[in-house]
């Protein structure tokens, strides 16, 4: 863990500049959307952009106070993506006469406020290590919530929602954070045991079962619940998170190979035995078959998305000038197709580059982090973000079967927005801790570590009973 440390510079002014740039991009998109779709009611534009700007600058100021050395690129990218998403949702609203964008803006506000609270309350990510097993428990609760009668609701065949008053929430979105915390905490404590103990089996080093037990339980639980809830996208996401975090912890490629084998085996079994998975595969492979196109829950959505993107071509129809609203779920699952149609290949490639950059900055924070927990957590969270993008974009482009994952920060949907903003807050904190000047006195790593070890072992004892 030797890192070349550059001289610590806060770089908050750069961030401010980039945040303003991001707001300009989002504002321009928002304005274009309105101006080319008949008469614009400009109040909409000013109110929404005003709120977004105020929220963004609040986070920026909070960073100046609590995480001065945080990565200066993460926040601007997030704001750019979030405001582009808002613009597109608003655009679909104008075409369909819905009012999803107001809701999305409200959720953005909630998400940013909660992310700010996270920034303020946690300050140092190592604090989270104390909650390793609480995070596991929380994950279990979050994943099980939708199965509770009355509370849980089934939408589009997946029982992953709970309804609270007028809001519906997808608790599974938050579970990816709690699971990351658990995996990071557990692996950072038991990494050595997993690495050293156990039997060698050919080229593979198998860990002792009891070292792996909590991990396996966590994994089985999440996968099991997701099979019951019929949410393929999240199952892939959790499984990927699990594999990658073990890989990062152990640096053993064998884990990835085992994981890949399990995905293939699981995929074949699911494809053969589970109706909705078979259907997904059929829709994917034979999307252009007219019978499948016309079938209920058939390939109409993805094929219309492809037609839309083909319509957009290299340069796009221009914001507000295409007809992305012809595609079902144009403002959520298919939002990338909507962008592809209206800002063309060039625009959508820019969005993907933003995602790549965001994920890269997250992984950079992981590299720079001085503690194992921080490394694992940052890597896990960044990977979650990246994998989500890839699974949904791959789905929309028919590279893989389409699953209902949210496109981070852009797709309409509050839970995902909230969860992803919390991830951003955590990444900012970790990057702050990895980049800030190391003053000898403030090296609480060991204290923290020992404290949390005590905590984890006691919790472990409890869980063993």
């Amino acid at each position: 863990m030797t890192e070349v440390q550059t001289a610590p510079v806060p770089r908050r002014n750069l961030e401010l500049l980039l945040v303003l740039l991001a707001l300009c991009v989002g504002g321009a998109a928002f304005y274009l959307v309105g101006s080319s779709t008949e008469d614009v009611d400009n109040t909409d534009f000013y109110v929404q952009m005003g709120i977004l700007a105020a929220l963004s600058l609040t986070v920026h100021v909070l960073l100046r106070i609590f995480a001065k050395y945080a990565d200066p690129v993460i926040l601007p990218i997030t704001i750019a993506l979030n405001s582009l998403g808002l613009a597109m949702i608003h655009r679909i609203d104008l075409a369909k006469g819905t009012s999803q964008s107001a809701r999305q803006l409200l959720w953005t506000a909630i998400a940013i406020v909660i992310a700010s609270v996270v920034l303020w309350a946690i300050k140092d990510h190592r604090l989270l290590r104390r909650f390793t097993y609480i995070a596991l428990l929380l994950s279990v609760v979050l994943l099980l919530l939708p199965l509770i009668p009355k509370l849980g609701v089934t939408i589009n065949g997946a029982r992953i929602w709970i309804r609270m008053g007028m809001f519906s929430l997808q608790p599974g979105e938050l579970a990816k954070i709690t699971l990351s915390i658990f995996f990071a905490g557990y692996l950072s404590s038991n990494r050595d045991l997993i690495l050293m103990a156990g039997r060698k089996f050919g080229p593979l080093q198998l860990p002792r079962l009891r070292d792996m037990a909590p991990m396996v339980i966590a994994w089985l639980l999440s996968i099991g619940v997701l099979v019951v809830q019929r949410d393929l996208g999240s199952a892939i996401l959790f499984f990927g998170l699990f594999i990658v975090m073990i890989y990062v912890a152990t640096a053993r490629i064998s884990w990835v190979l085992i994981g890949a084998l399990m995905v293939v085996a699981g995929g074949i079994v699911a494809g053969l035995t589970m109706g909705h998975v078979t259907r997904r595969l059929d829709v994917w492979l034979n999307a252009f078959d007219p019978a499948i196109y016309q079938a209920k829950g058939g390939s109409m959505q993805i094929v219309e998305g492809l037609f839309g993107m083909a319509d957009g071509g290299l340069f796009g129809t221009g914001l507000g000038a295409g007809s992305p609203y012809r595609v079902p779920l144009a403002n959520s699952d298919m939002i990338i197709a909507s962008f592809g149609e209206e800002i063309g290949l060039i625009g959508v490639a820019a969005i993907i580059l933003l995602y790549m950059l965001l994920v890269s900055r997250g992984l950079r924070a992981a590299l720079g982090s001085a503690d194992t927990f921080g490394k694992l957590l940052a890597a896990g969270l960044s990977f979650t973000l990246g994998l989500q993008c890839i699974v949904i974009i791959g789905g929309v482009t028919r590279l893989i079967p389409l699953t209902g994952l949210a496109t981070p920060f852009m797709a309409a949907g509050g839970s995902s927005l909230l969860a992803n903003w919390i991830i951003i807050a955590l990444l900012l904190l970790i990057s702050h801790n990895s980049r800030r000047p190391k003053t000898g006195g403030v090296g609480p790593t060991d204290e923290f570590a020992s404290a949390s070890t005590a905590l984890t072992s006691s919790t472990k004892a409890v869980t063993k009973k």
């Binding site: 863990m1 890192e3 369909k96 006469g97 990658v244 890989y247 990062v248 912890a249 152990t250 640096a251 252009f288 007219p290 196109y293 094929v303 492809l306 037609f307 839309g308 993107m309 083909a310 319509d311 957009g312 071509g313 290299l314 007809s323 012809r326 592809g340 063309g344 290949l345 959508v348 490639a349 993907i352 995602y355 790549m356 994920v359 890269s360 992984l363 992981a366 590299l367 194992t372 490394k375 694992l376 890597a379 990977f383 990246g386 994998l387 993008c389 890839i390 974009i393 791959g394 482009t397 028919r398 590279l399």
Partner: protein, 486 residues
């Protein structure tokens, strides 16, 4: 650990690049095939979001695109007097496709016609929306309305009024009809259901304009052509009487051709063409068909339009005169408009047009002019000759002969005082229904004789003889009164 994190980064980057590749493939390399995919309705959707040109009659729209906020498309196609014009306009529907003039005039109405290239270019640069051109029809709104309303609702009938000097179609109305607005609704399920309901109506197909797409036996109205063939052959003339037996055996057959038993043909066993034509006697045409010969007969039919391609601009189904496979008896039957001799109402109208216009048929046409969105006239079709059906002399003789039915023969019930109307009737046999002999009733003619203004054809299908005969006469009379303000 850092090594592993870097590898995770590499893996994610590779996956992102693959996604970019997928997007490039769809949006660039595969974009054209995708946009041409049969399932891709975006081109059509775009059309539905554009203001489509109107179809006009007397300067007023009978089909127009009206802005709508139904959330699906920006415009709704609306038809005025929908049933009156249904068989002309057809409909413009996402679910049911586009038919009749809406389909034939599509390039103009959408503005994609090459005549509108300049308008499209300027729309592109000025940022305005390109609009389609409007098409004014030759139809006379009042005549069309009169014709449609005159037809009794329970009959399958068609009325055509044309100007024989120009070929302009002034009225073309048929019943049963349907409300085109029901098929243009945006809800695809609703539109499909309405199409089903309409298609279940007896004698009604939203895909066929009865005036031009339903060839049926023309019966004695075909004798206009047979008489032309007789006179052109030089072997018959106006003066020399022809044998007119009550019945005659078909060649090599015991079956007989009879004269119409309710007429007065039986009065003379030899008669001049004038009497034969006025009373619509059949038996002389056995001799005529044999004397004229197959080739000359076929040639006459073709000159009148049989077997010819014609678009008005709706495509007219060619009428049939299958002489090649006919024996002598069948030729004789075809000479009186039976057997496989099949004519559309428009074909029989063209027969009247030919006689009215000195033997020359002007091409029947519905397009008055095409008007660009800026009111510039971009197309103003001039009258075109369709064919020379016969000589002016023979046409003159036919004009003379066609007075008989109106004055003293089968078309007396259409007579309007003060209008010199010339016509020929027809009654072709149809299978009996419930013991009642069914017929197709025809009357086709023109007026006034000295300077023909209109050629009018009435056709009633699958009707009992009396209703058919009486209604055909009454409809013709109504139309003559309407045309000449009597």
């Amino acid at each position: 650990m850092n090594h592993a994190i870097k590898r995770v980064w590499v893996a994610l980057t590779v996956l992102f690049v693959i996604c970019l590749g997928g997007l490039s493939y769809i949006q660039f390399f595969d974009a054209k095939p995708l946009s041409e995919n049969a399932l891709n309705k975006r081109e059509l959707y775009r059309e539905f979001d554009l203001p489509r040109g109107a179809i006009l009659v007397d300067g007023k729209p009978i089909a127009e695109s009206v802005p709508t906020d139904d959330g699906q498309f920006e415009f709704q196609r609306v038809y005025h007097d929908a049933k009156t014009y249904a068989h002309l306009t057809g409909y413009y529907s996402l679910a049911n496709g586009t038919t009749q003039l809406e389909s034939q005039l599509n390039d103009w109405l959408t503005g994609t016609s090459s005549d509108l290239l300049f308008d499209r270019l300027s729309a592109m640069f000025t940022g305005t929306r390109s609009e389609g051109a409007s098409v004014e029809l030759t139809i006379d709104g009042q005549l069309q309305k009169t014709a449609f309303e005159a037809i009794p609702d329970d009959l399958k009938a068609t009325i055509i009024v044309t100007n024989p000097k120009t070929g302009d179609i002034l009225a073309m109305a048929s019943k049963p009809s349907y409300n085109t607005n029901l098929l243009a609704v945006h809800s695809t399920s609703q539109a499909a259901q309405n199409l089903k309901d309409i298609s279940n109506t007896d004698g009604l197909s939203p895909y066929r304009n009865p005036a031009i797409s339903n060839p049926v036996t023309p019966g004695s109205s075909f004798k206009i052509l047979s008489t032309v063939a007789a006179l052109e052959s030089g072997k018959f003339d106006m003066e020399t009487p022809i044998d007119n037996p009550v019945s005659v055996n078909y060649p090599h057959s015991t079956a007989k051709m009879n004269n119409f038993n309710e007429g007065i043909c039986a009065r003379d066993t030899r008669a001049r063409l004038e009497f034969i034509f006025a009373q619509s006697c059949n038996t002389p045409f056995m001799e005529i068909s044999q004397t004229v010969g197959k080739d000359a007969f076929t040639e006459v039919a073709e000159r009148f339009g049989y077997g010819q391609q014609l678009s008005i601009p709706q495509n007219v189904v060619p009428s049939e005169f299958p002489s090649a496979e006919a024996n002598e008896a069948q030729m004789a039957q075809m000479a009186i408009g039976e057997w496989e001799n099949k004519a559309t109402p428009l074909q029989m109208n063209m027969a009247a047009m030919a006689i009215a216009n000195d033997g020359v048929i002007m091409k029947p046409n519905l397009i008055g002019k095409v008007i660009a969105p800026d009111l510039r006239v971009i197309e103003d079709p001039k009258p075109e000759k369709f064919s020379t059906a016969t000589t002016p002399e023979v046409a003159e003789q036919l004009t003379e002969l066609m007075e008989g039915p109106v004055v003293s023969g089968t078309a007396m019930n259409a007579r309007v005082p003060g209008v010199d109307f010339r016509a020929k009737t027809g009654t072709s046999q149809r299978p009996s229904e419930n013991g009642v002999r069914m017929v197709n009733s025809w009357m086709t003619g023109f007026a006034p004789a000295d300077d023909p203004q209109v050629a009018i054809t009435v056709n009633i299908q699958d009707v009992d003889y009396n209703t058919g005969h009486n209604t055909a006469g009454a409809l013709m009379k109504t139309m003559l009164e309407a045309v000449f303000n009597k």
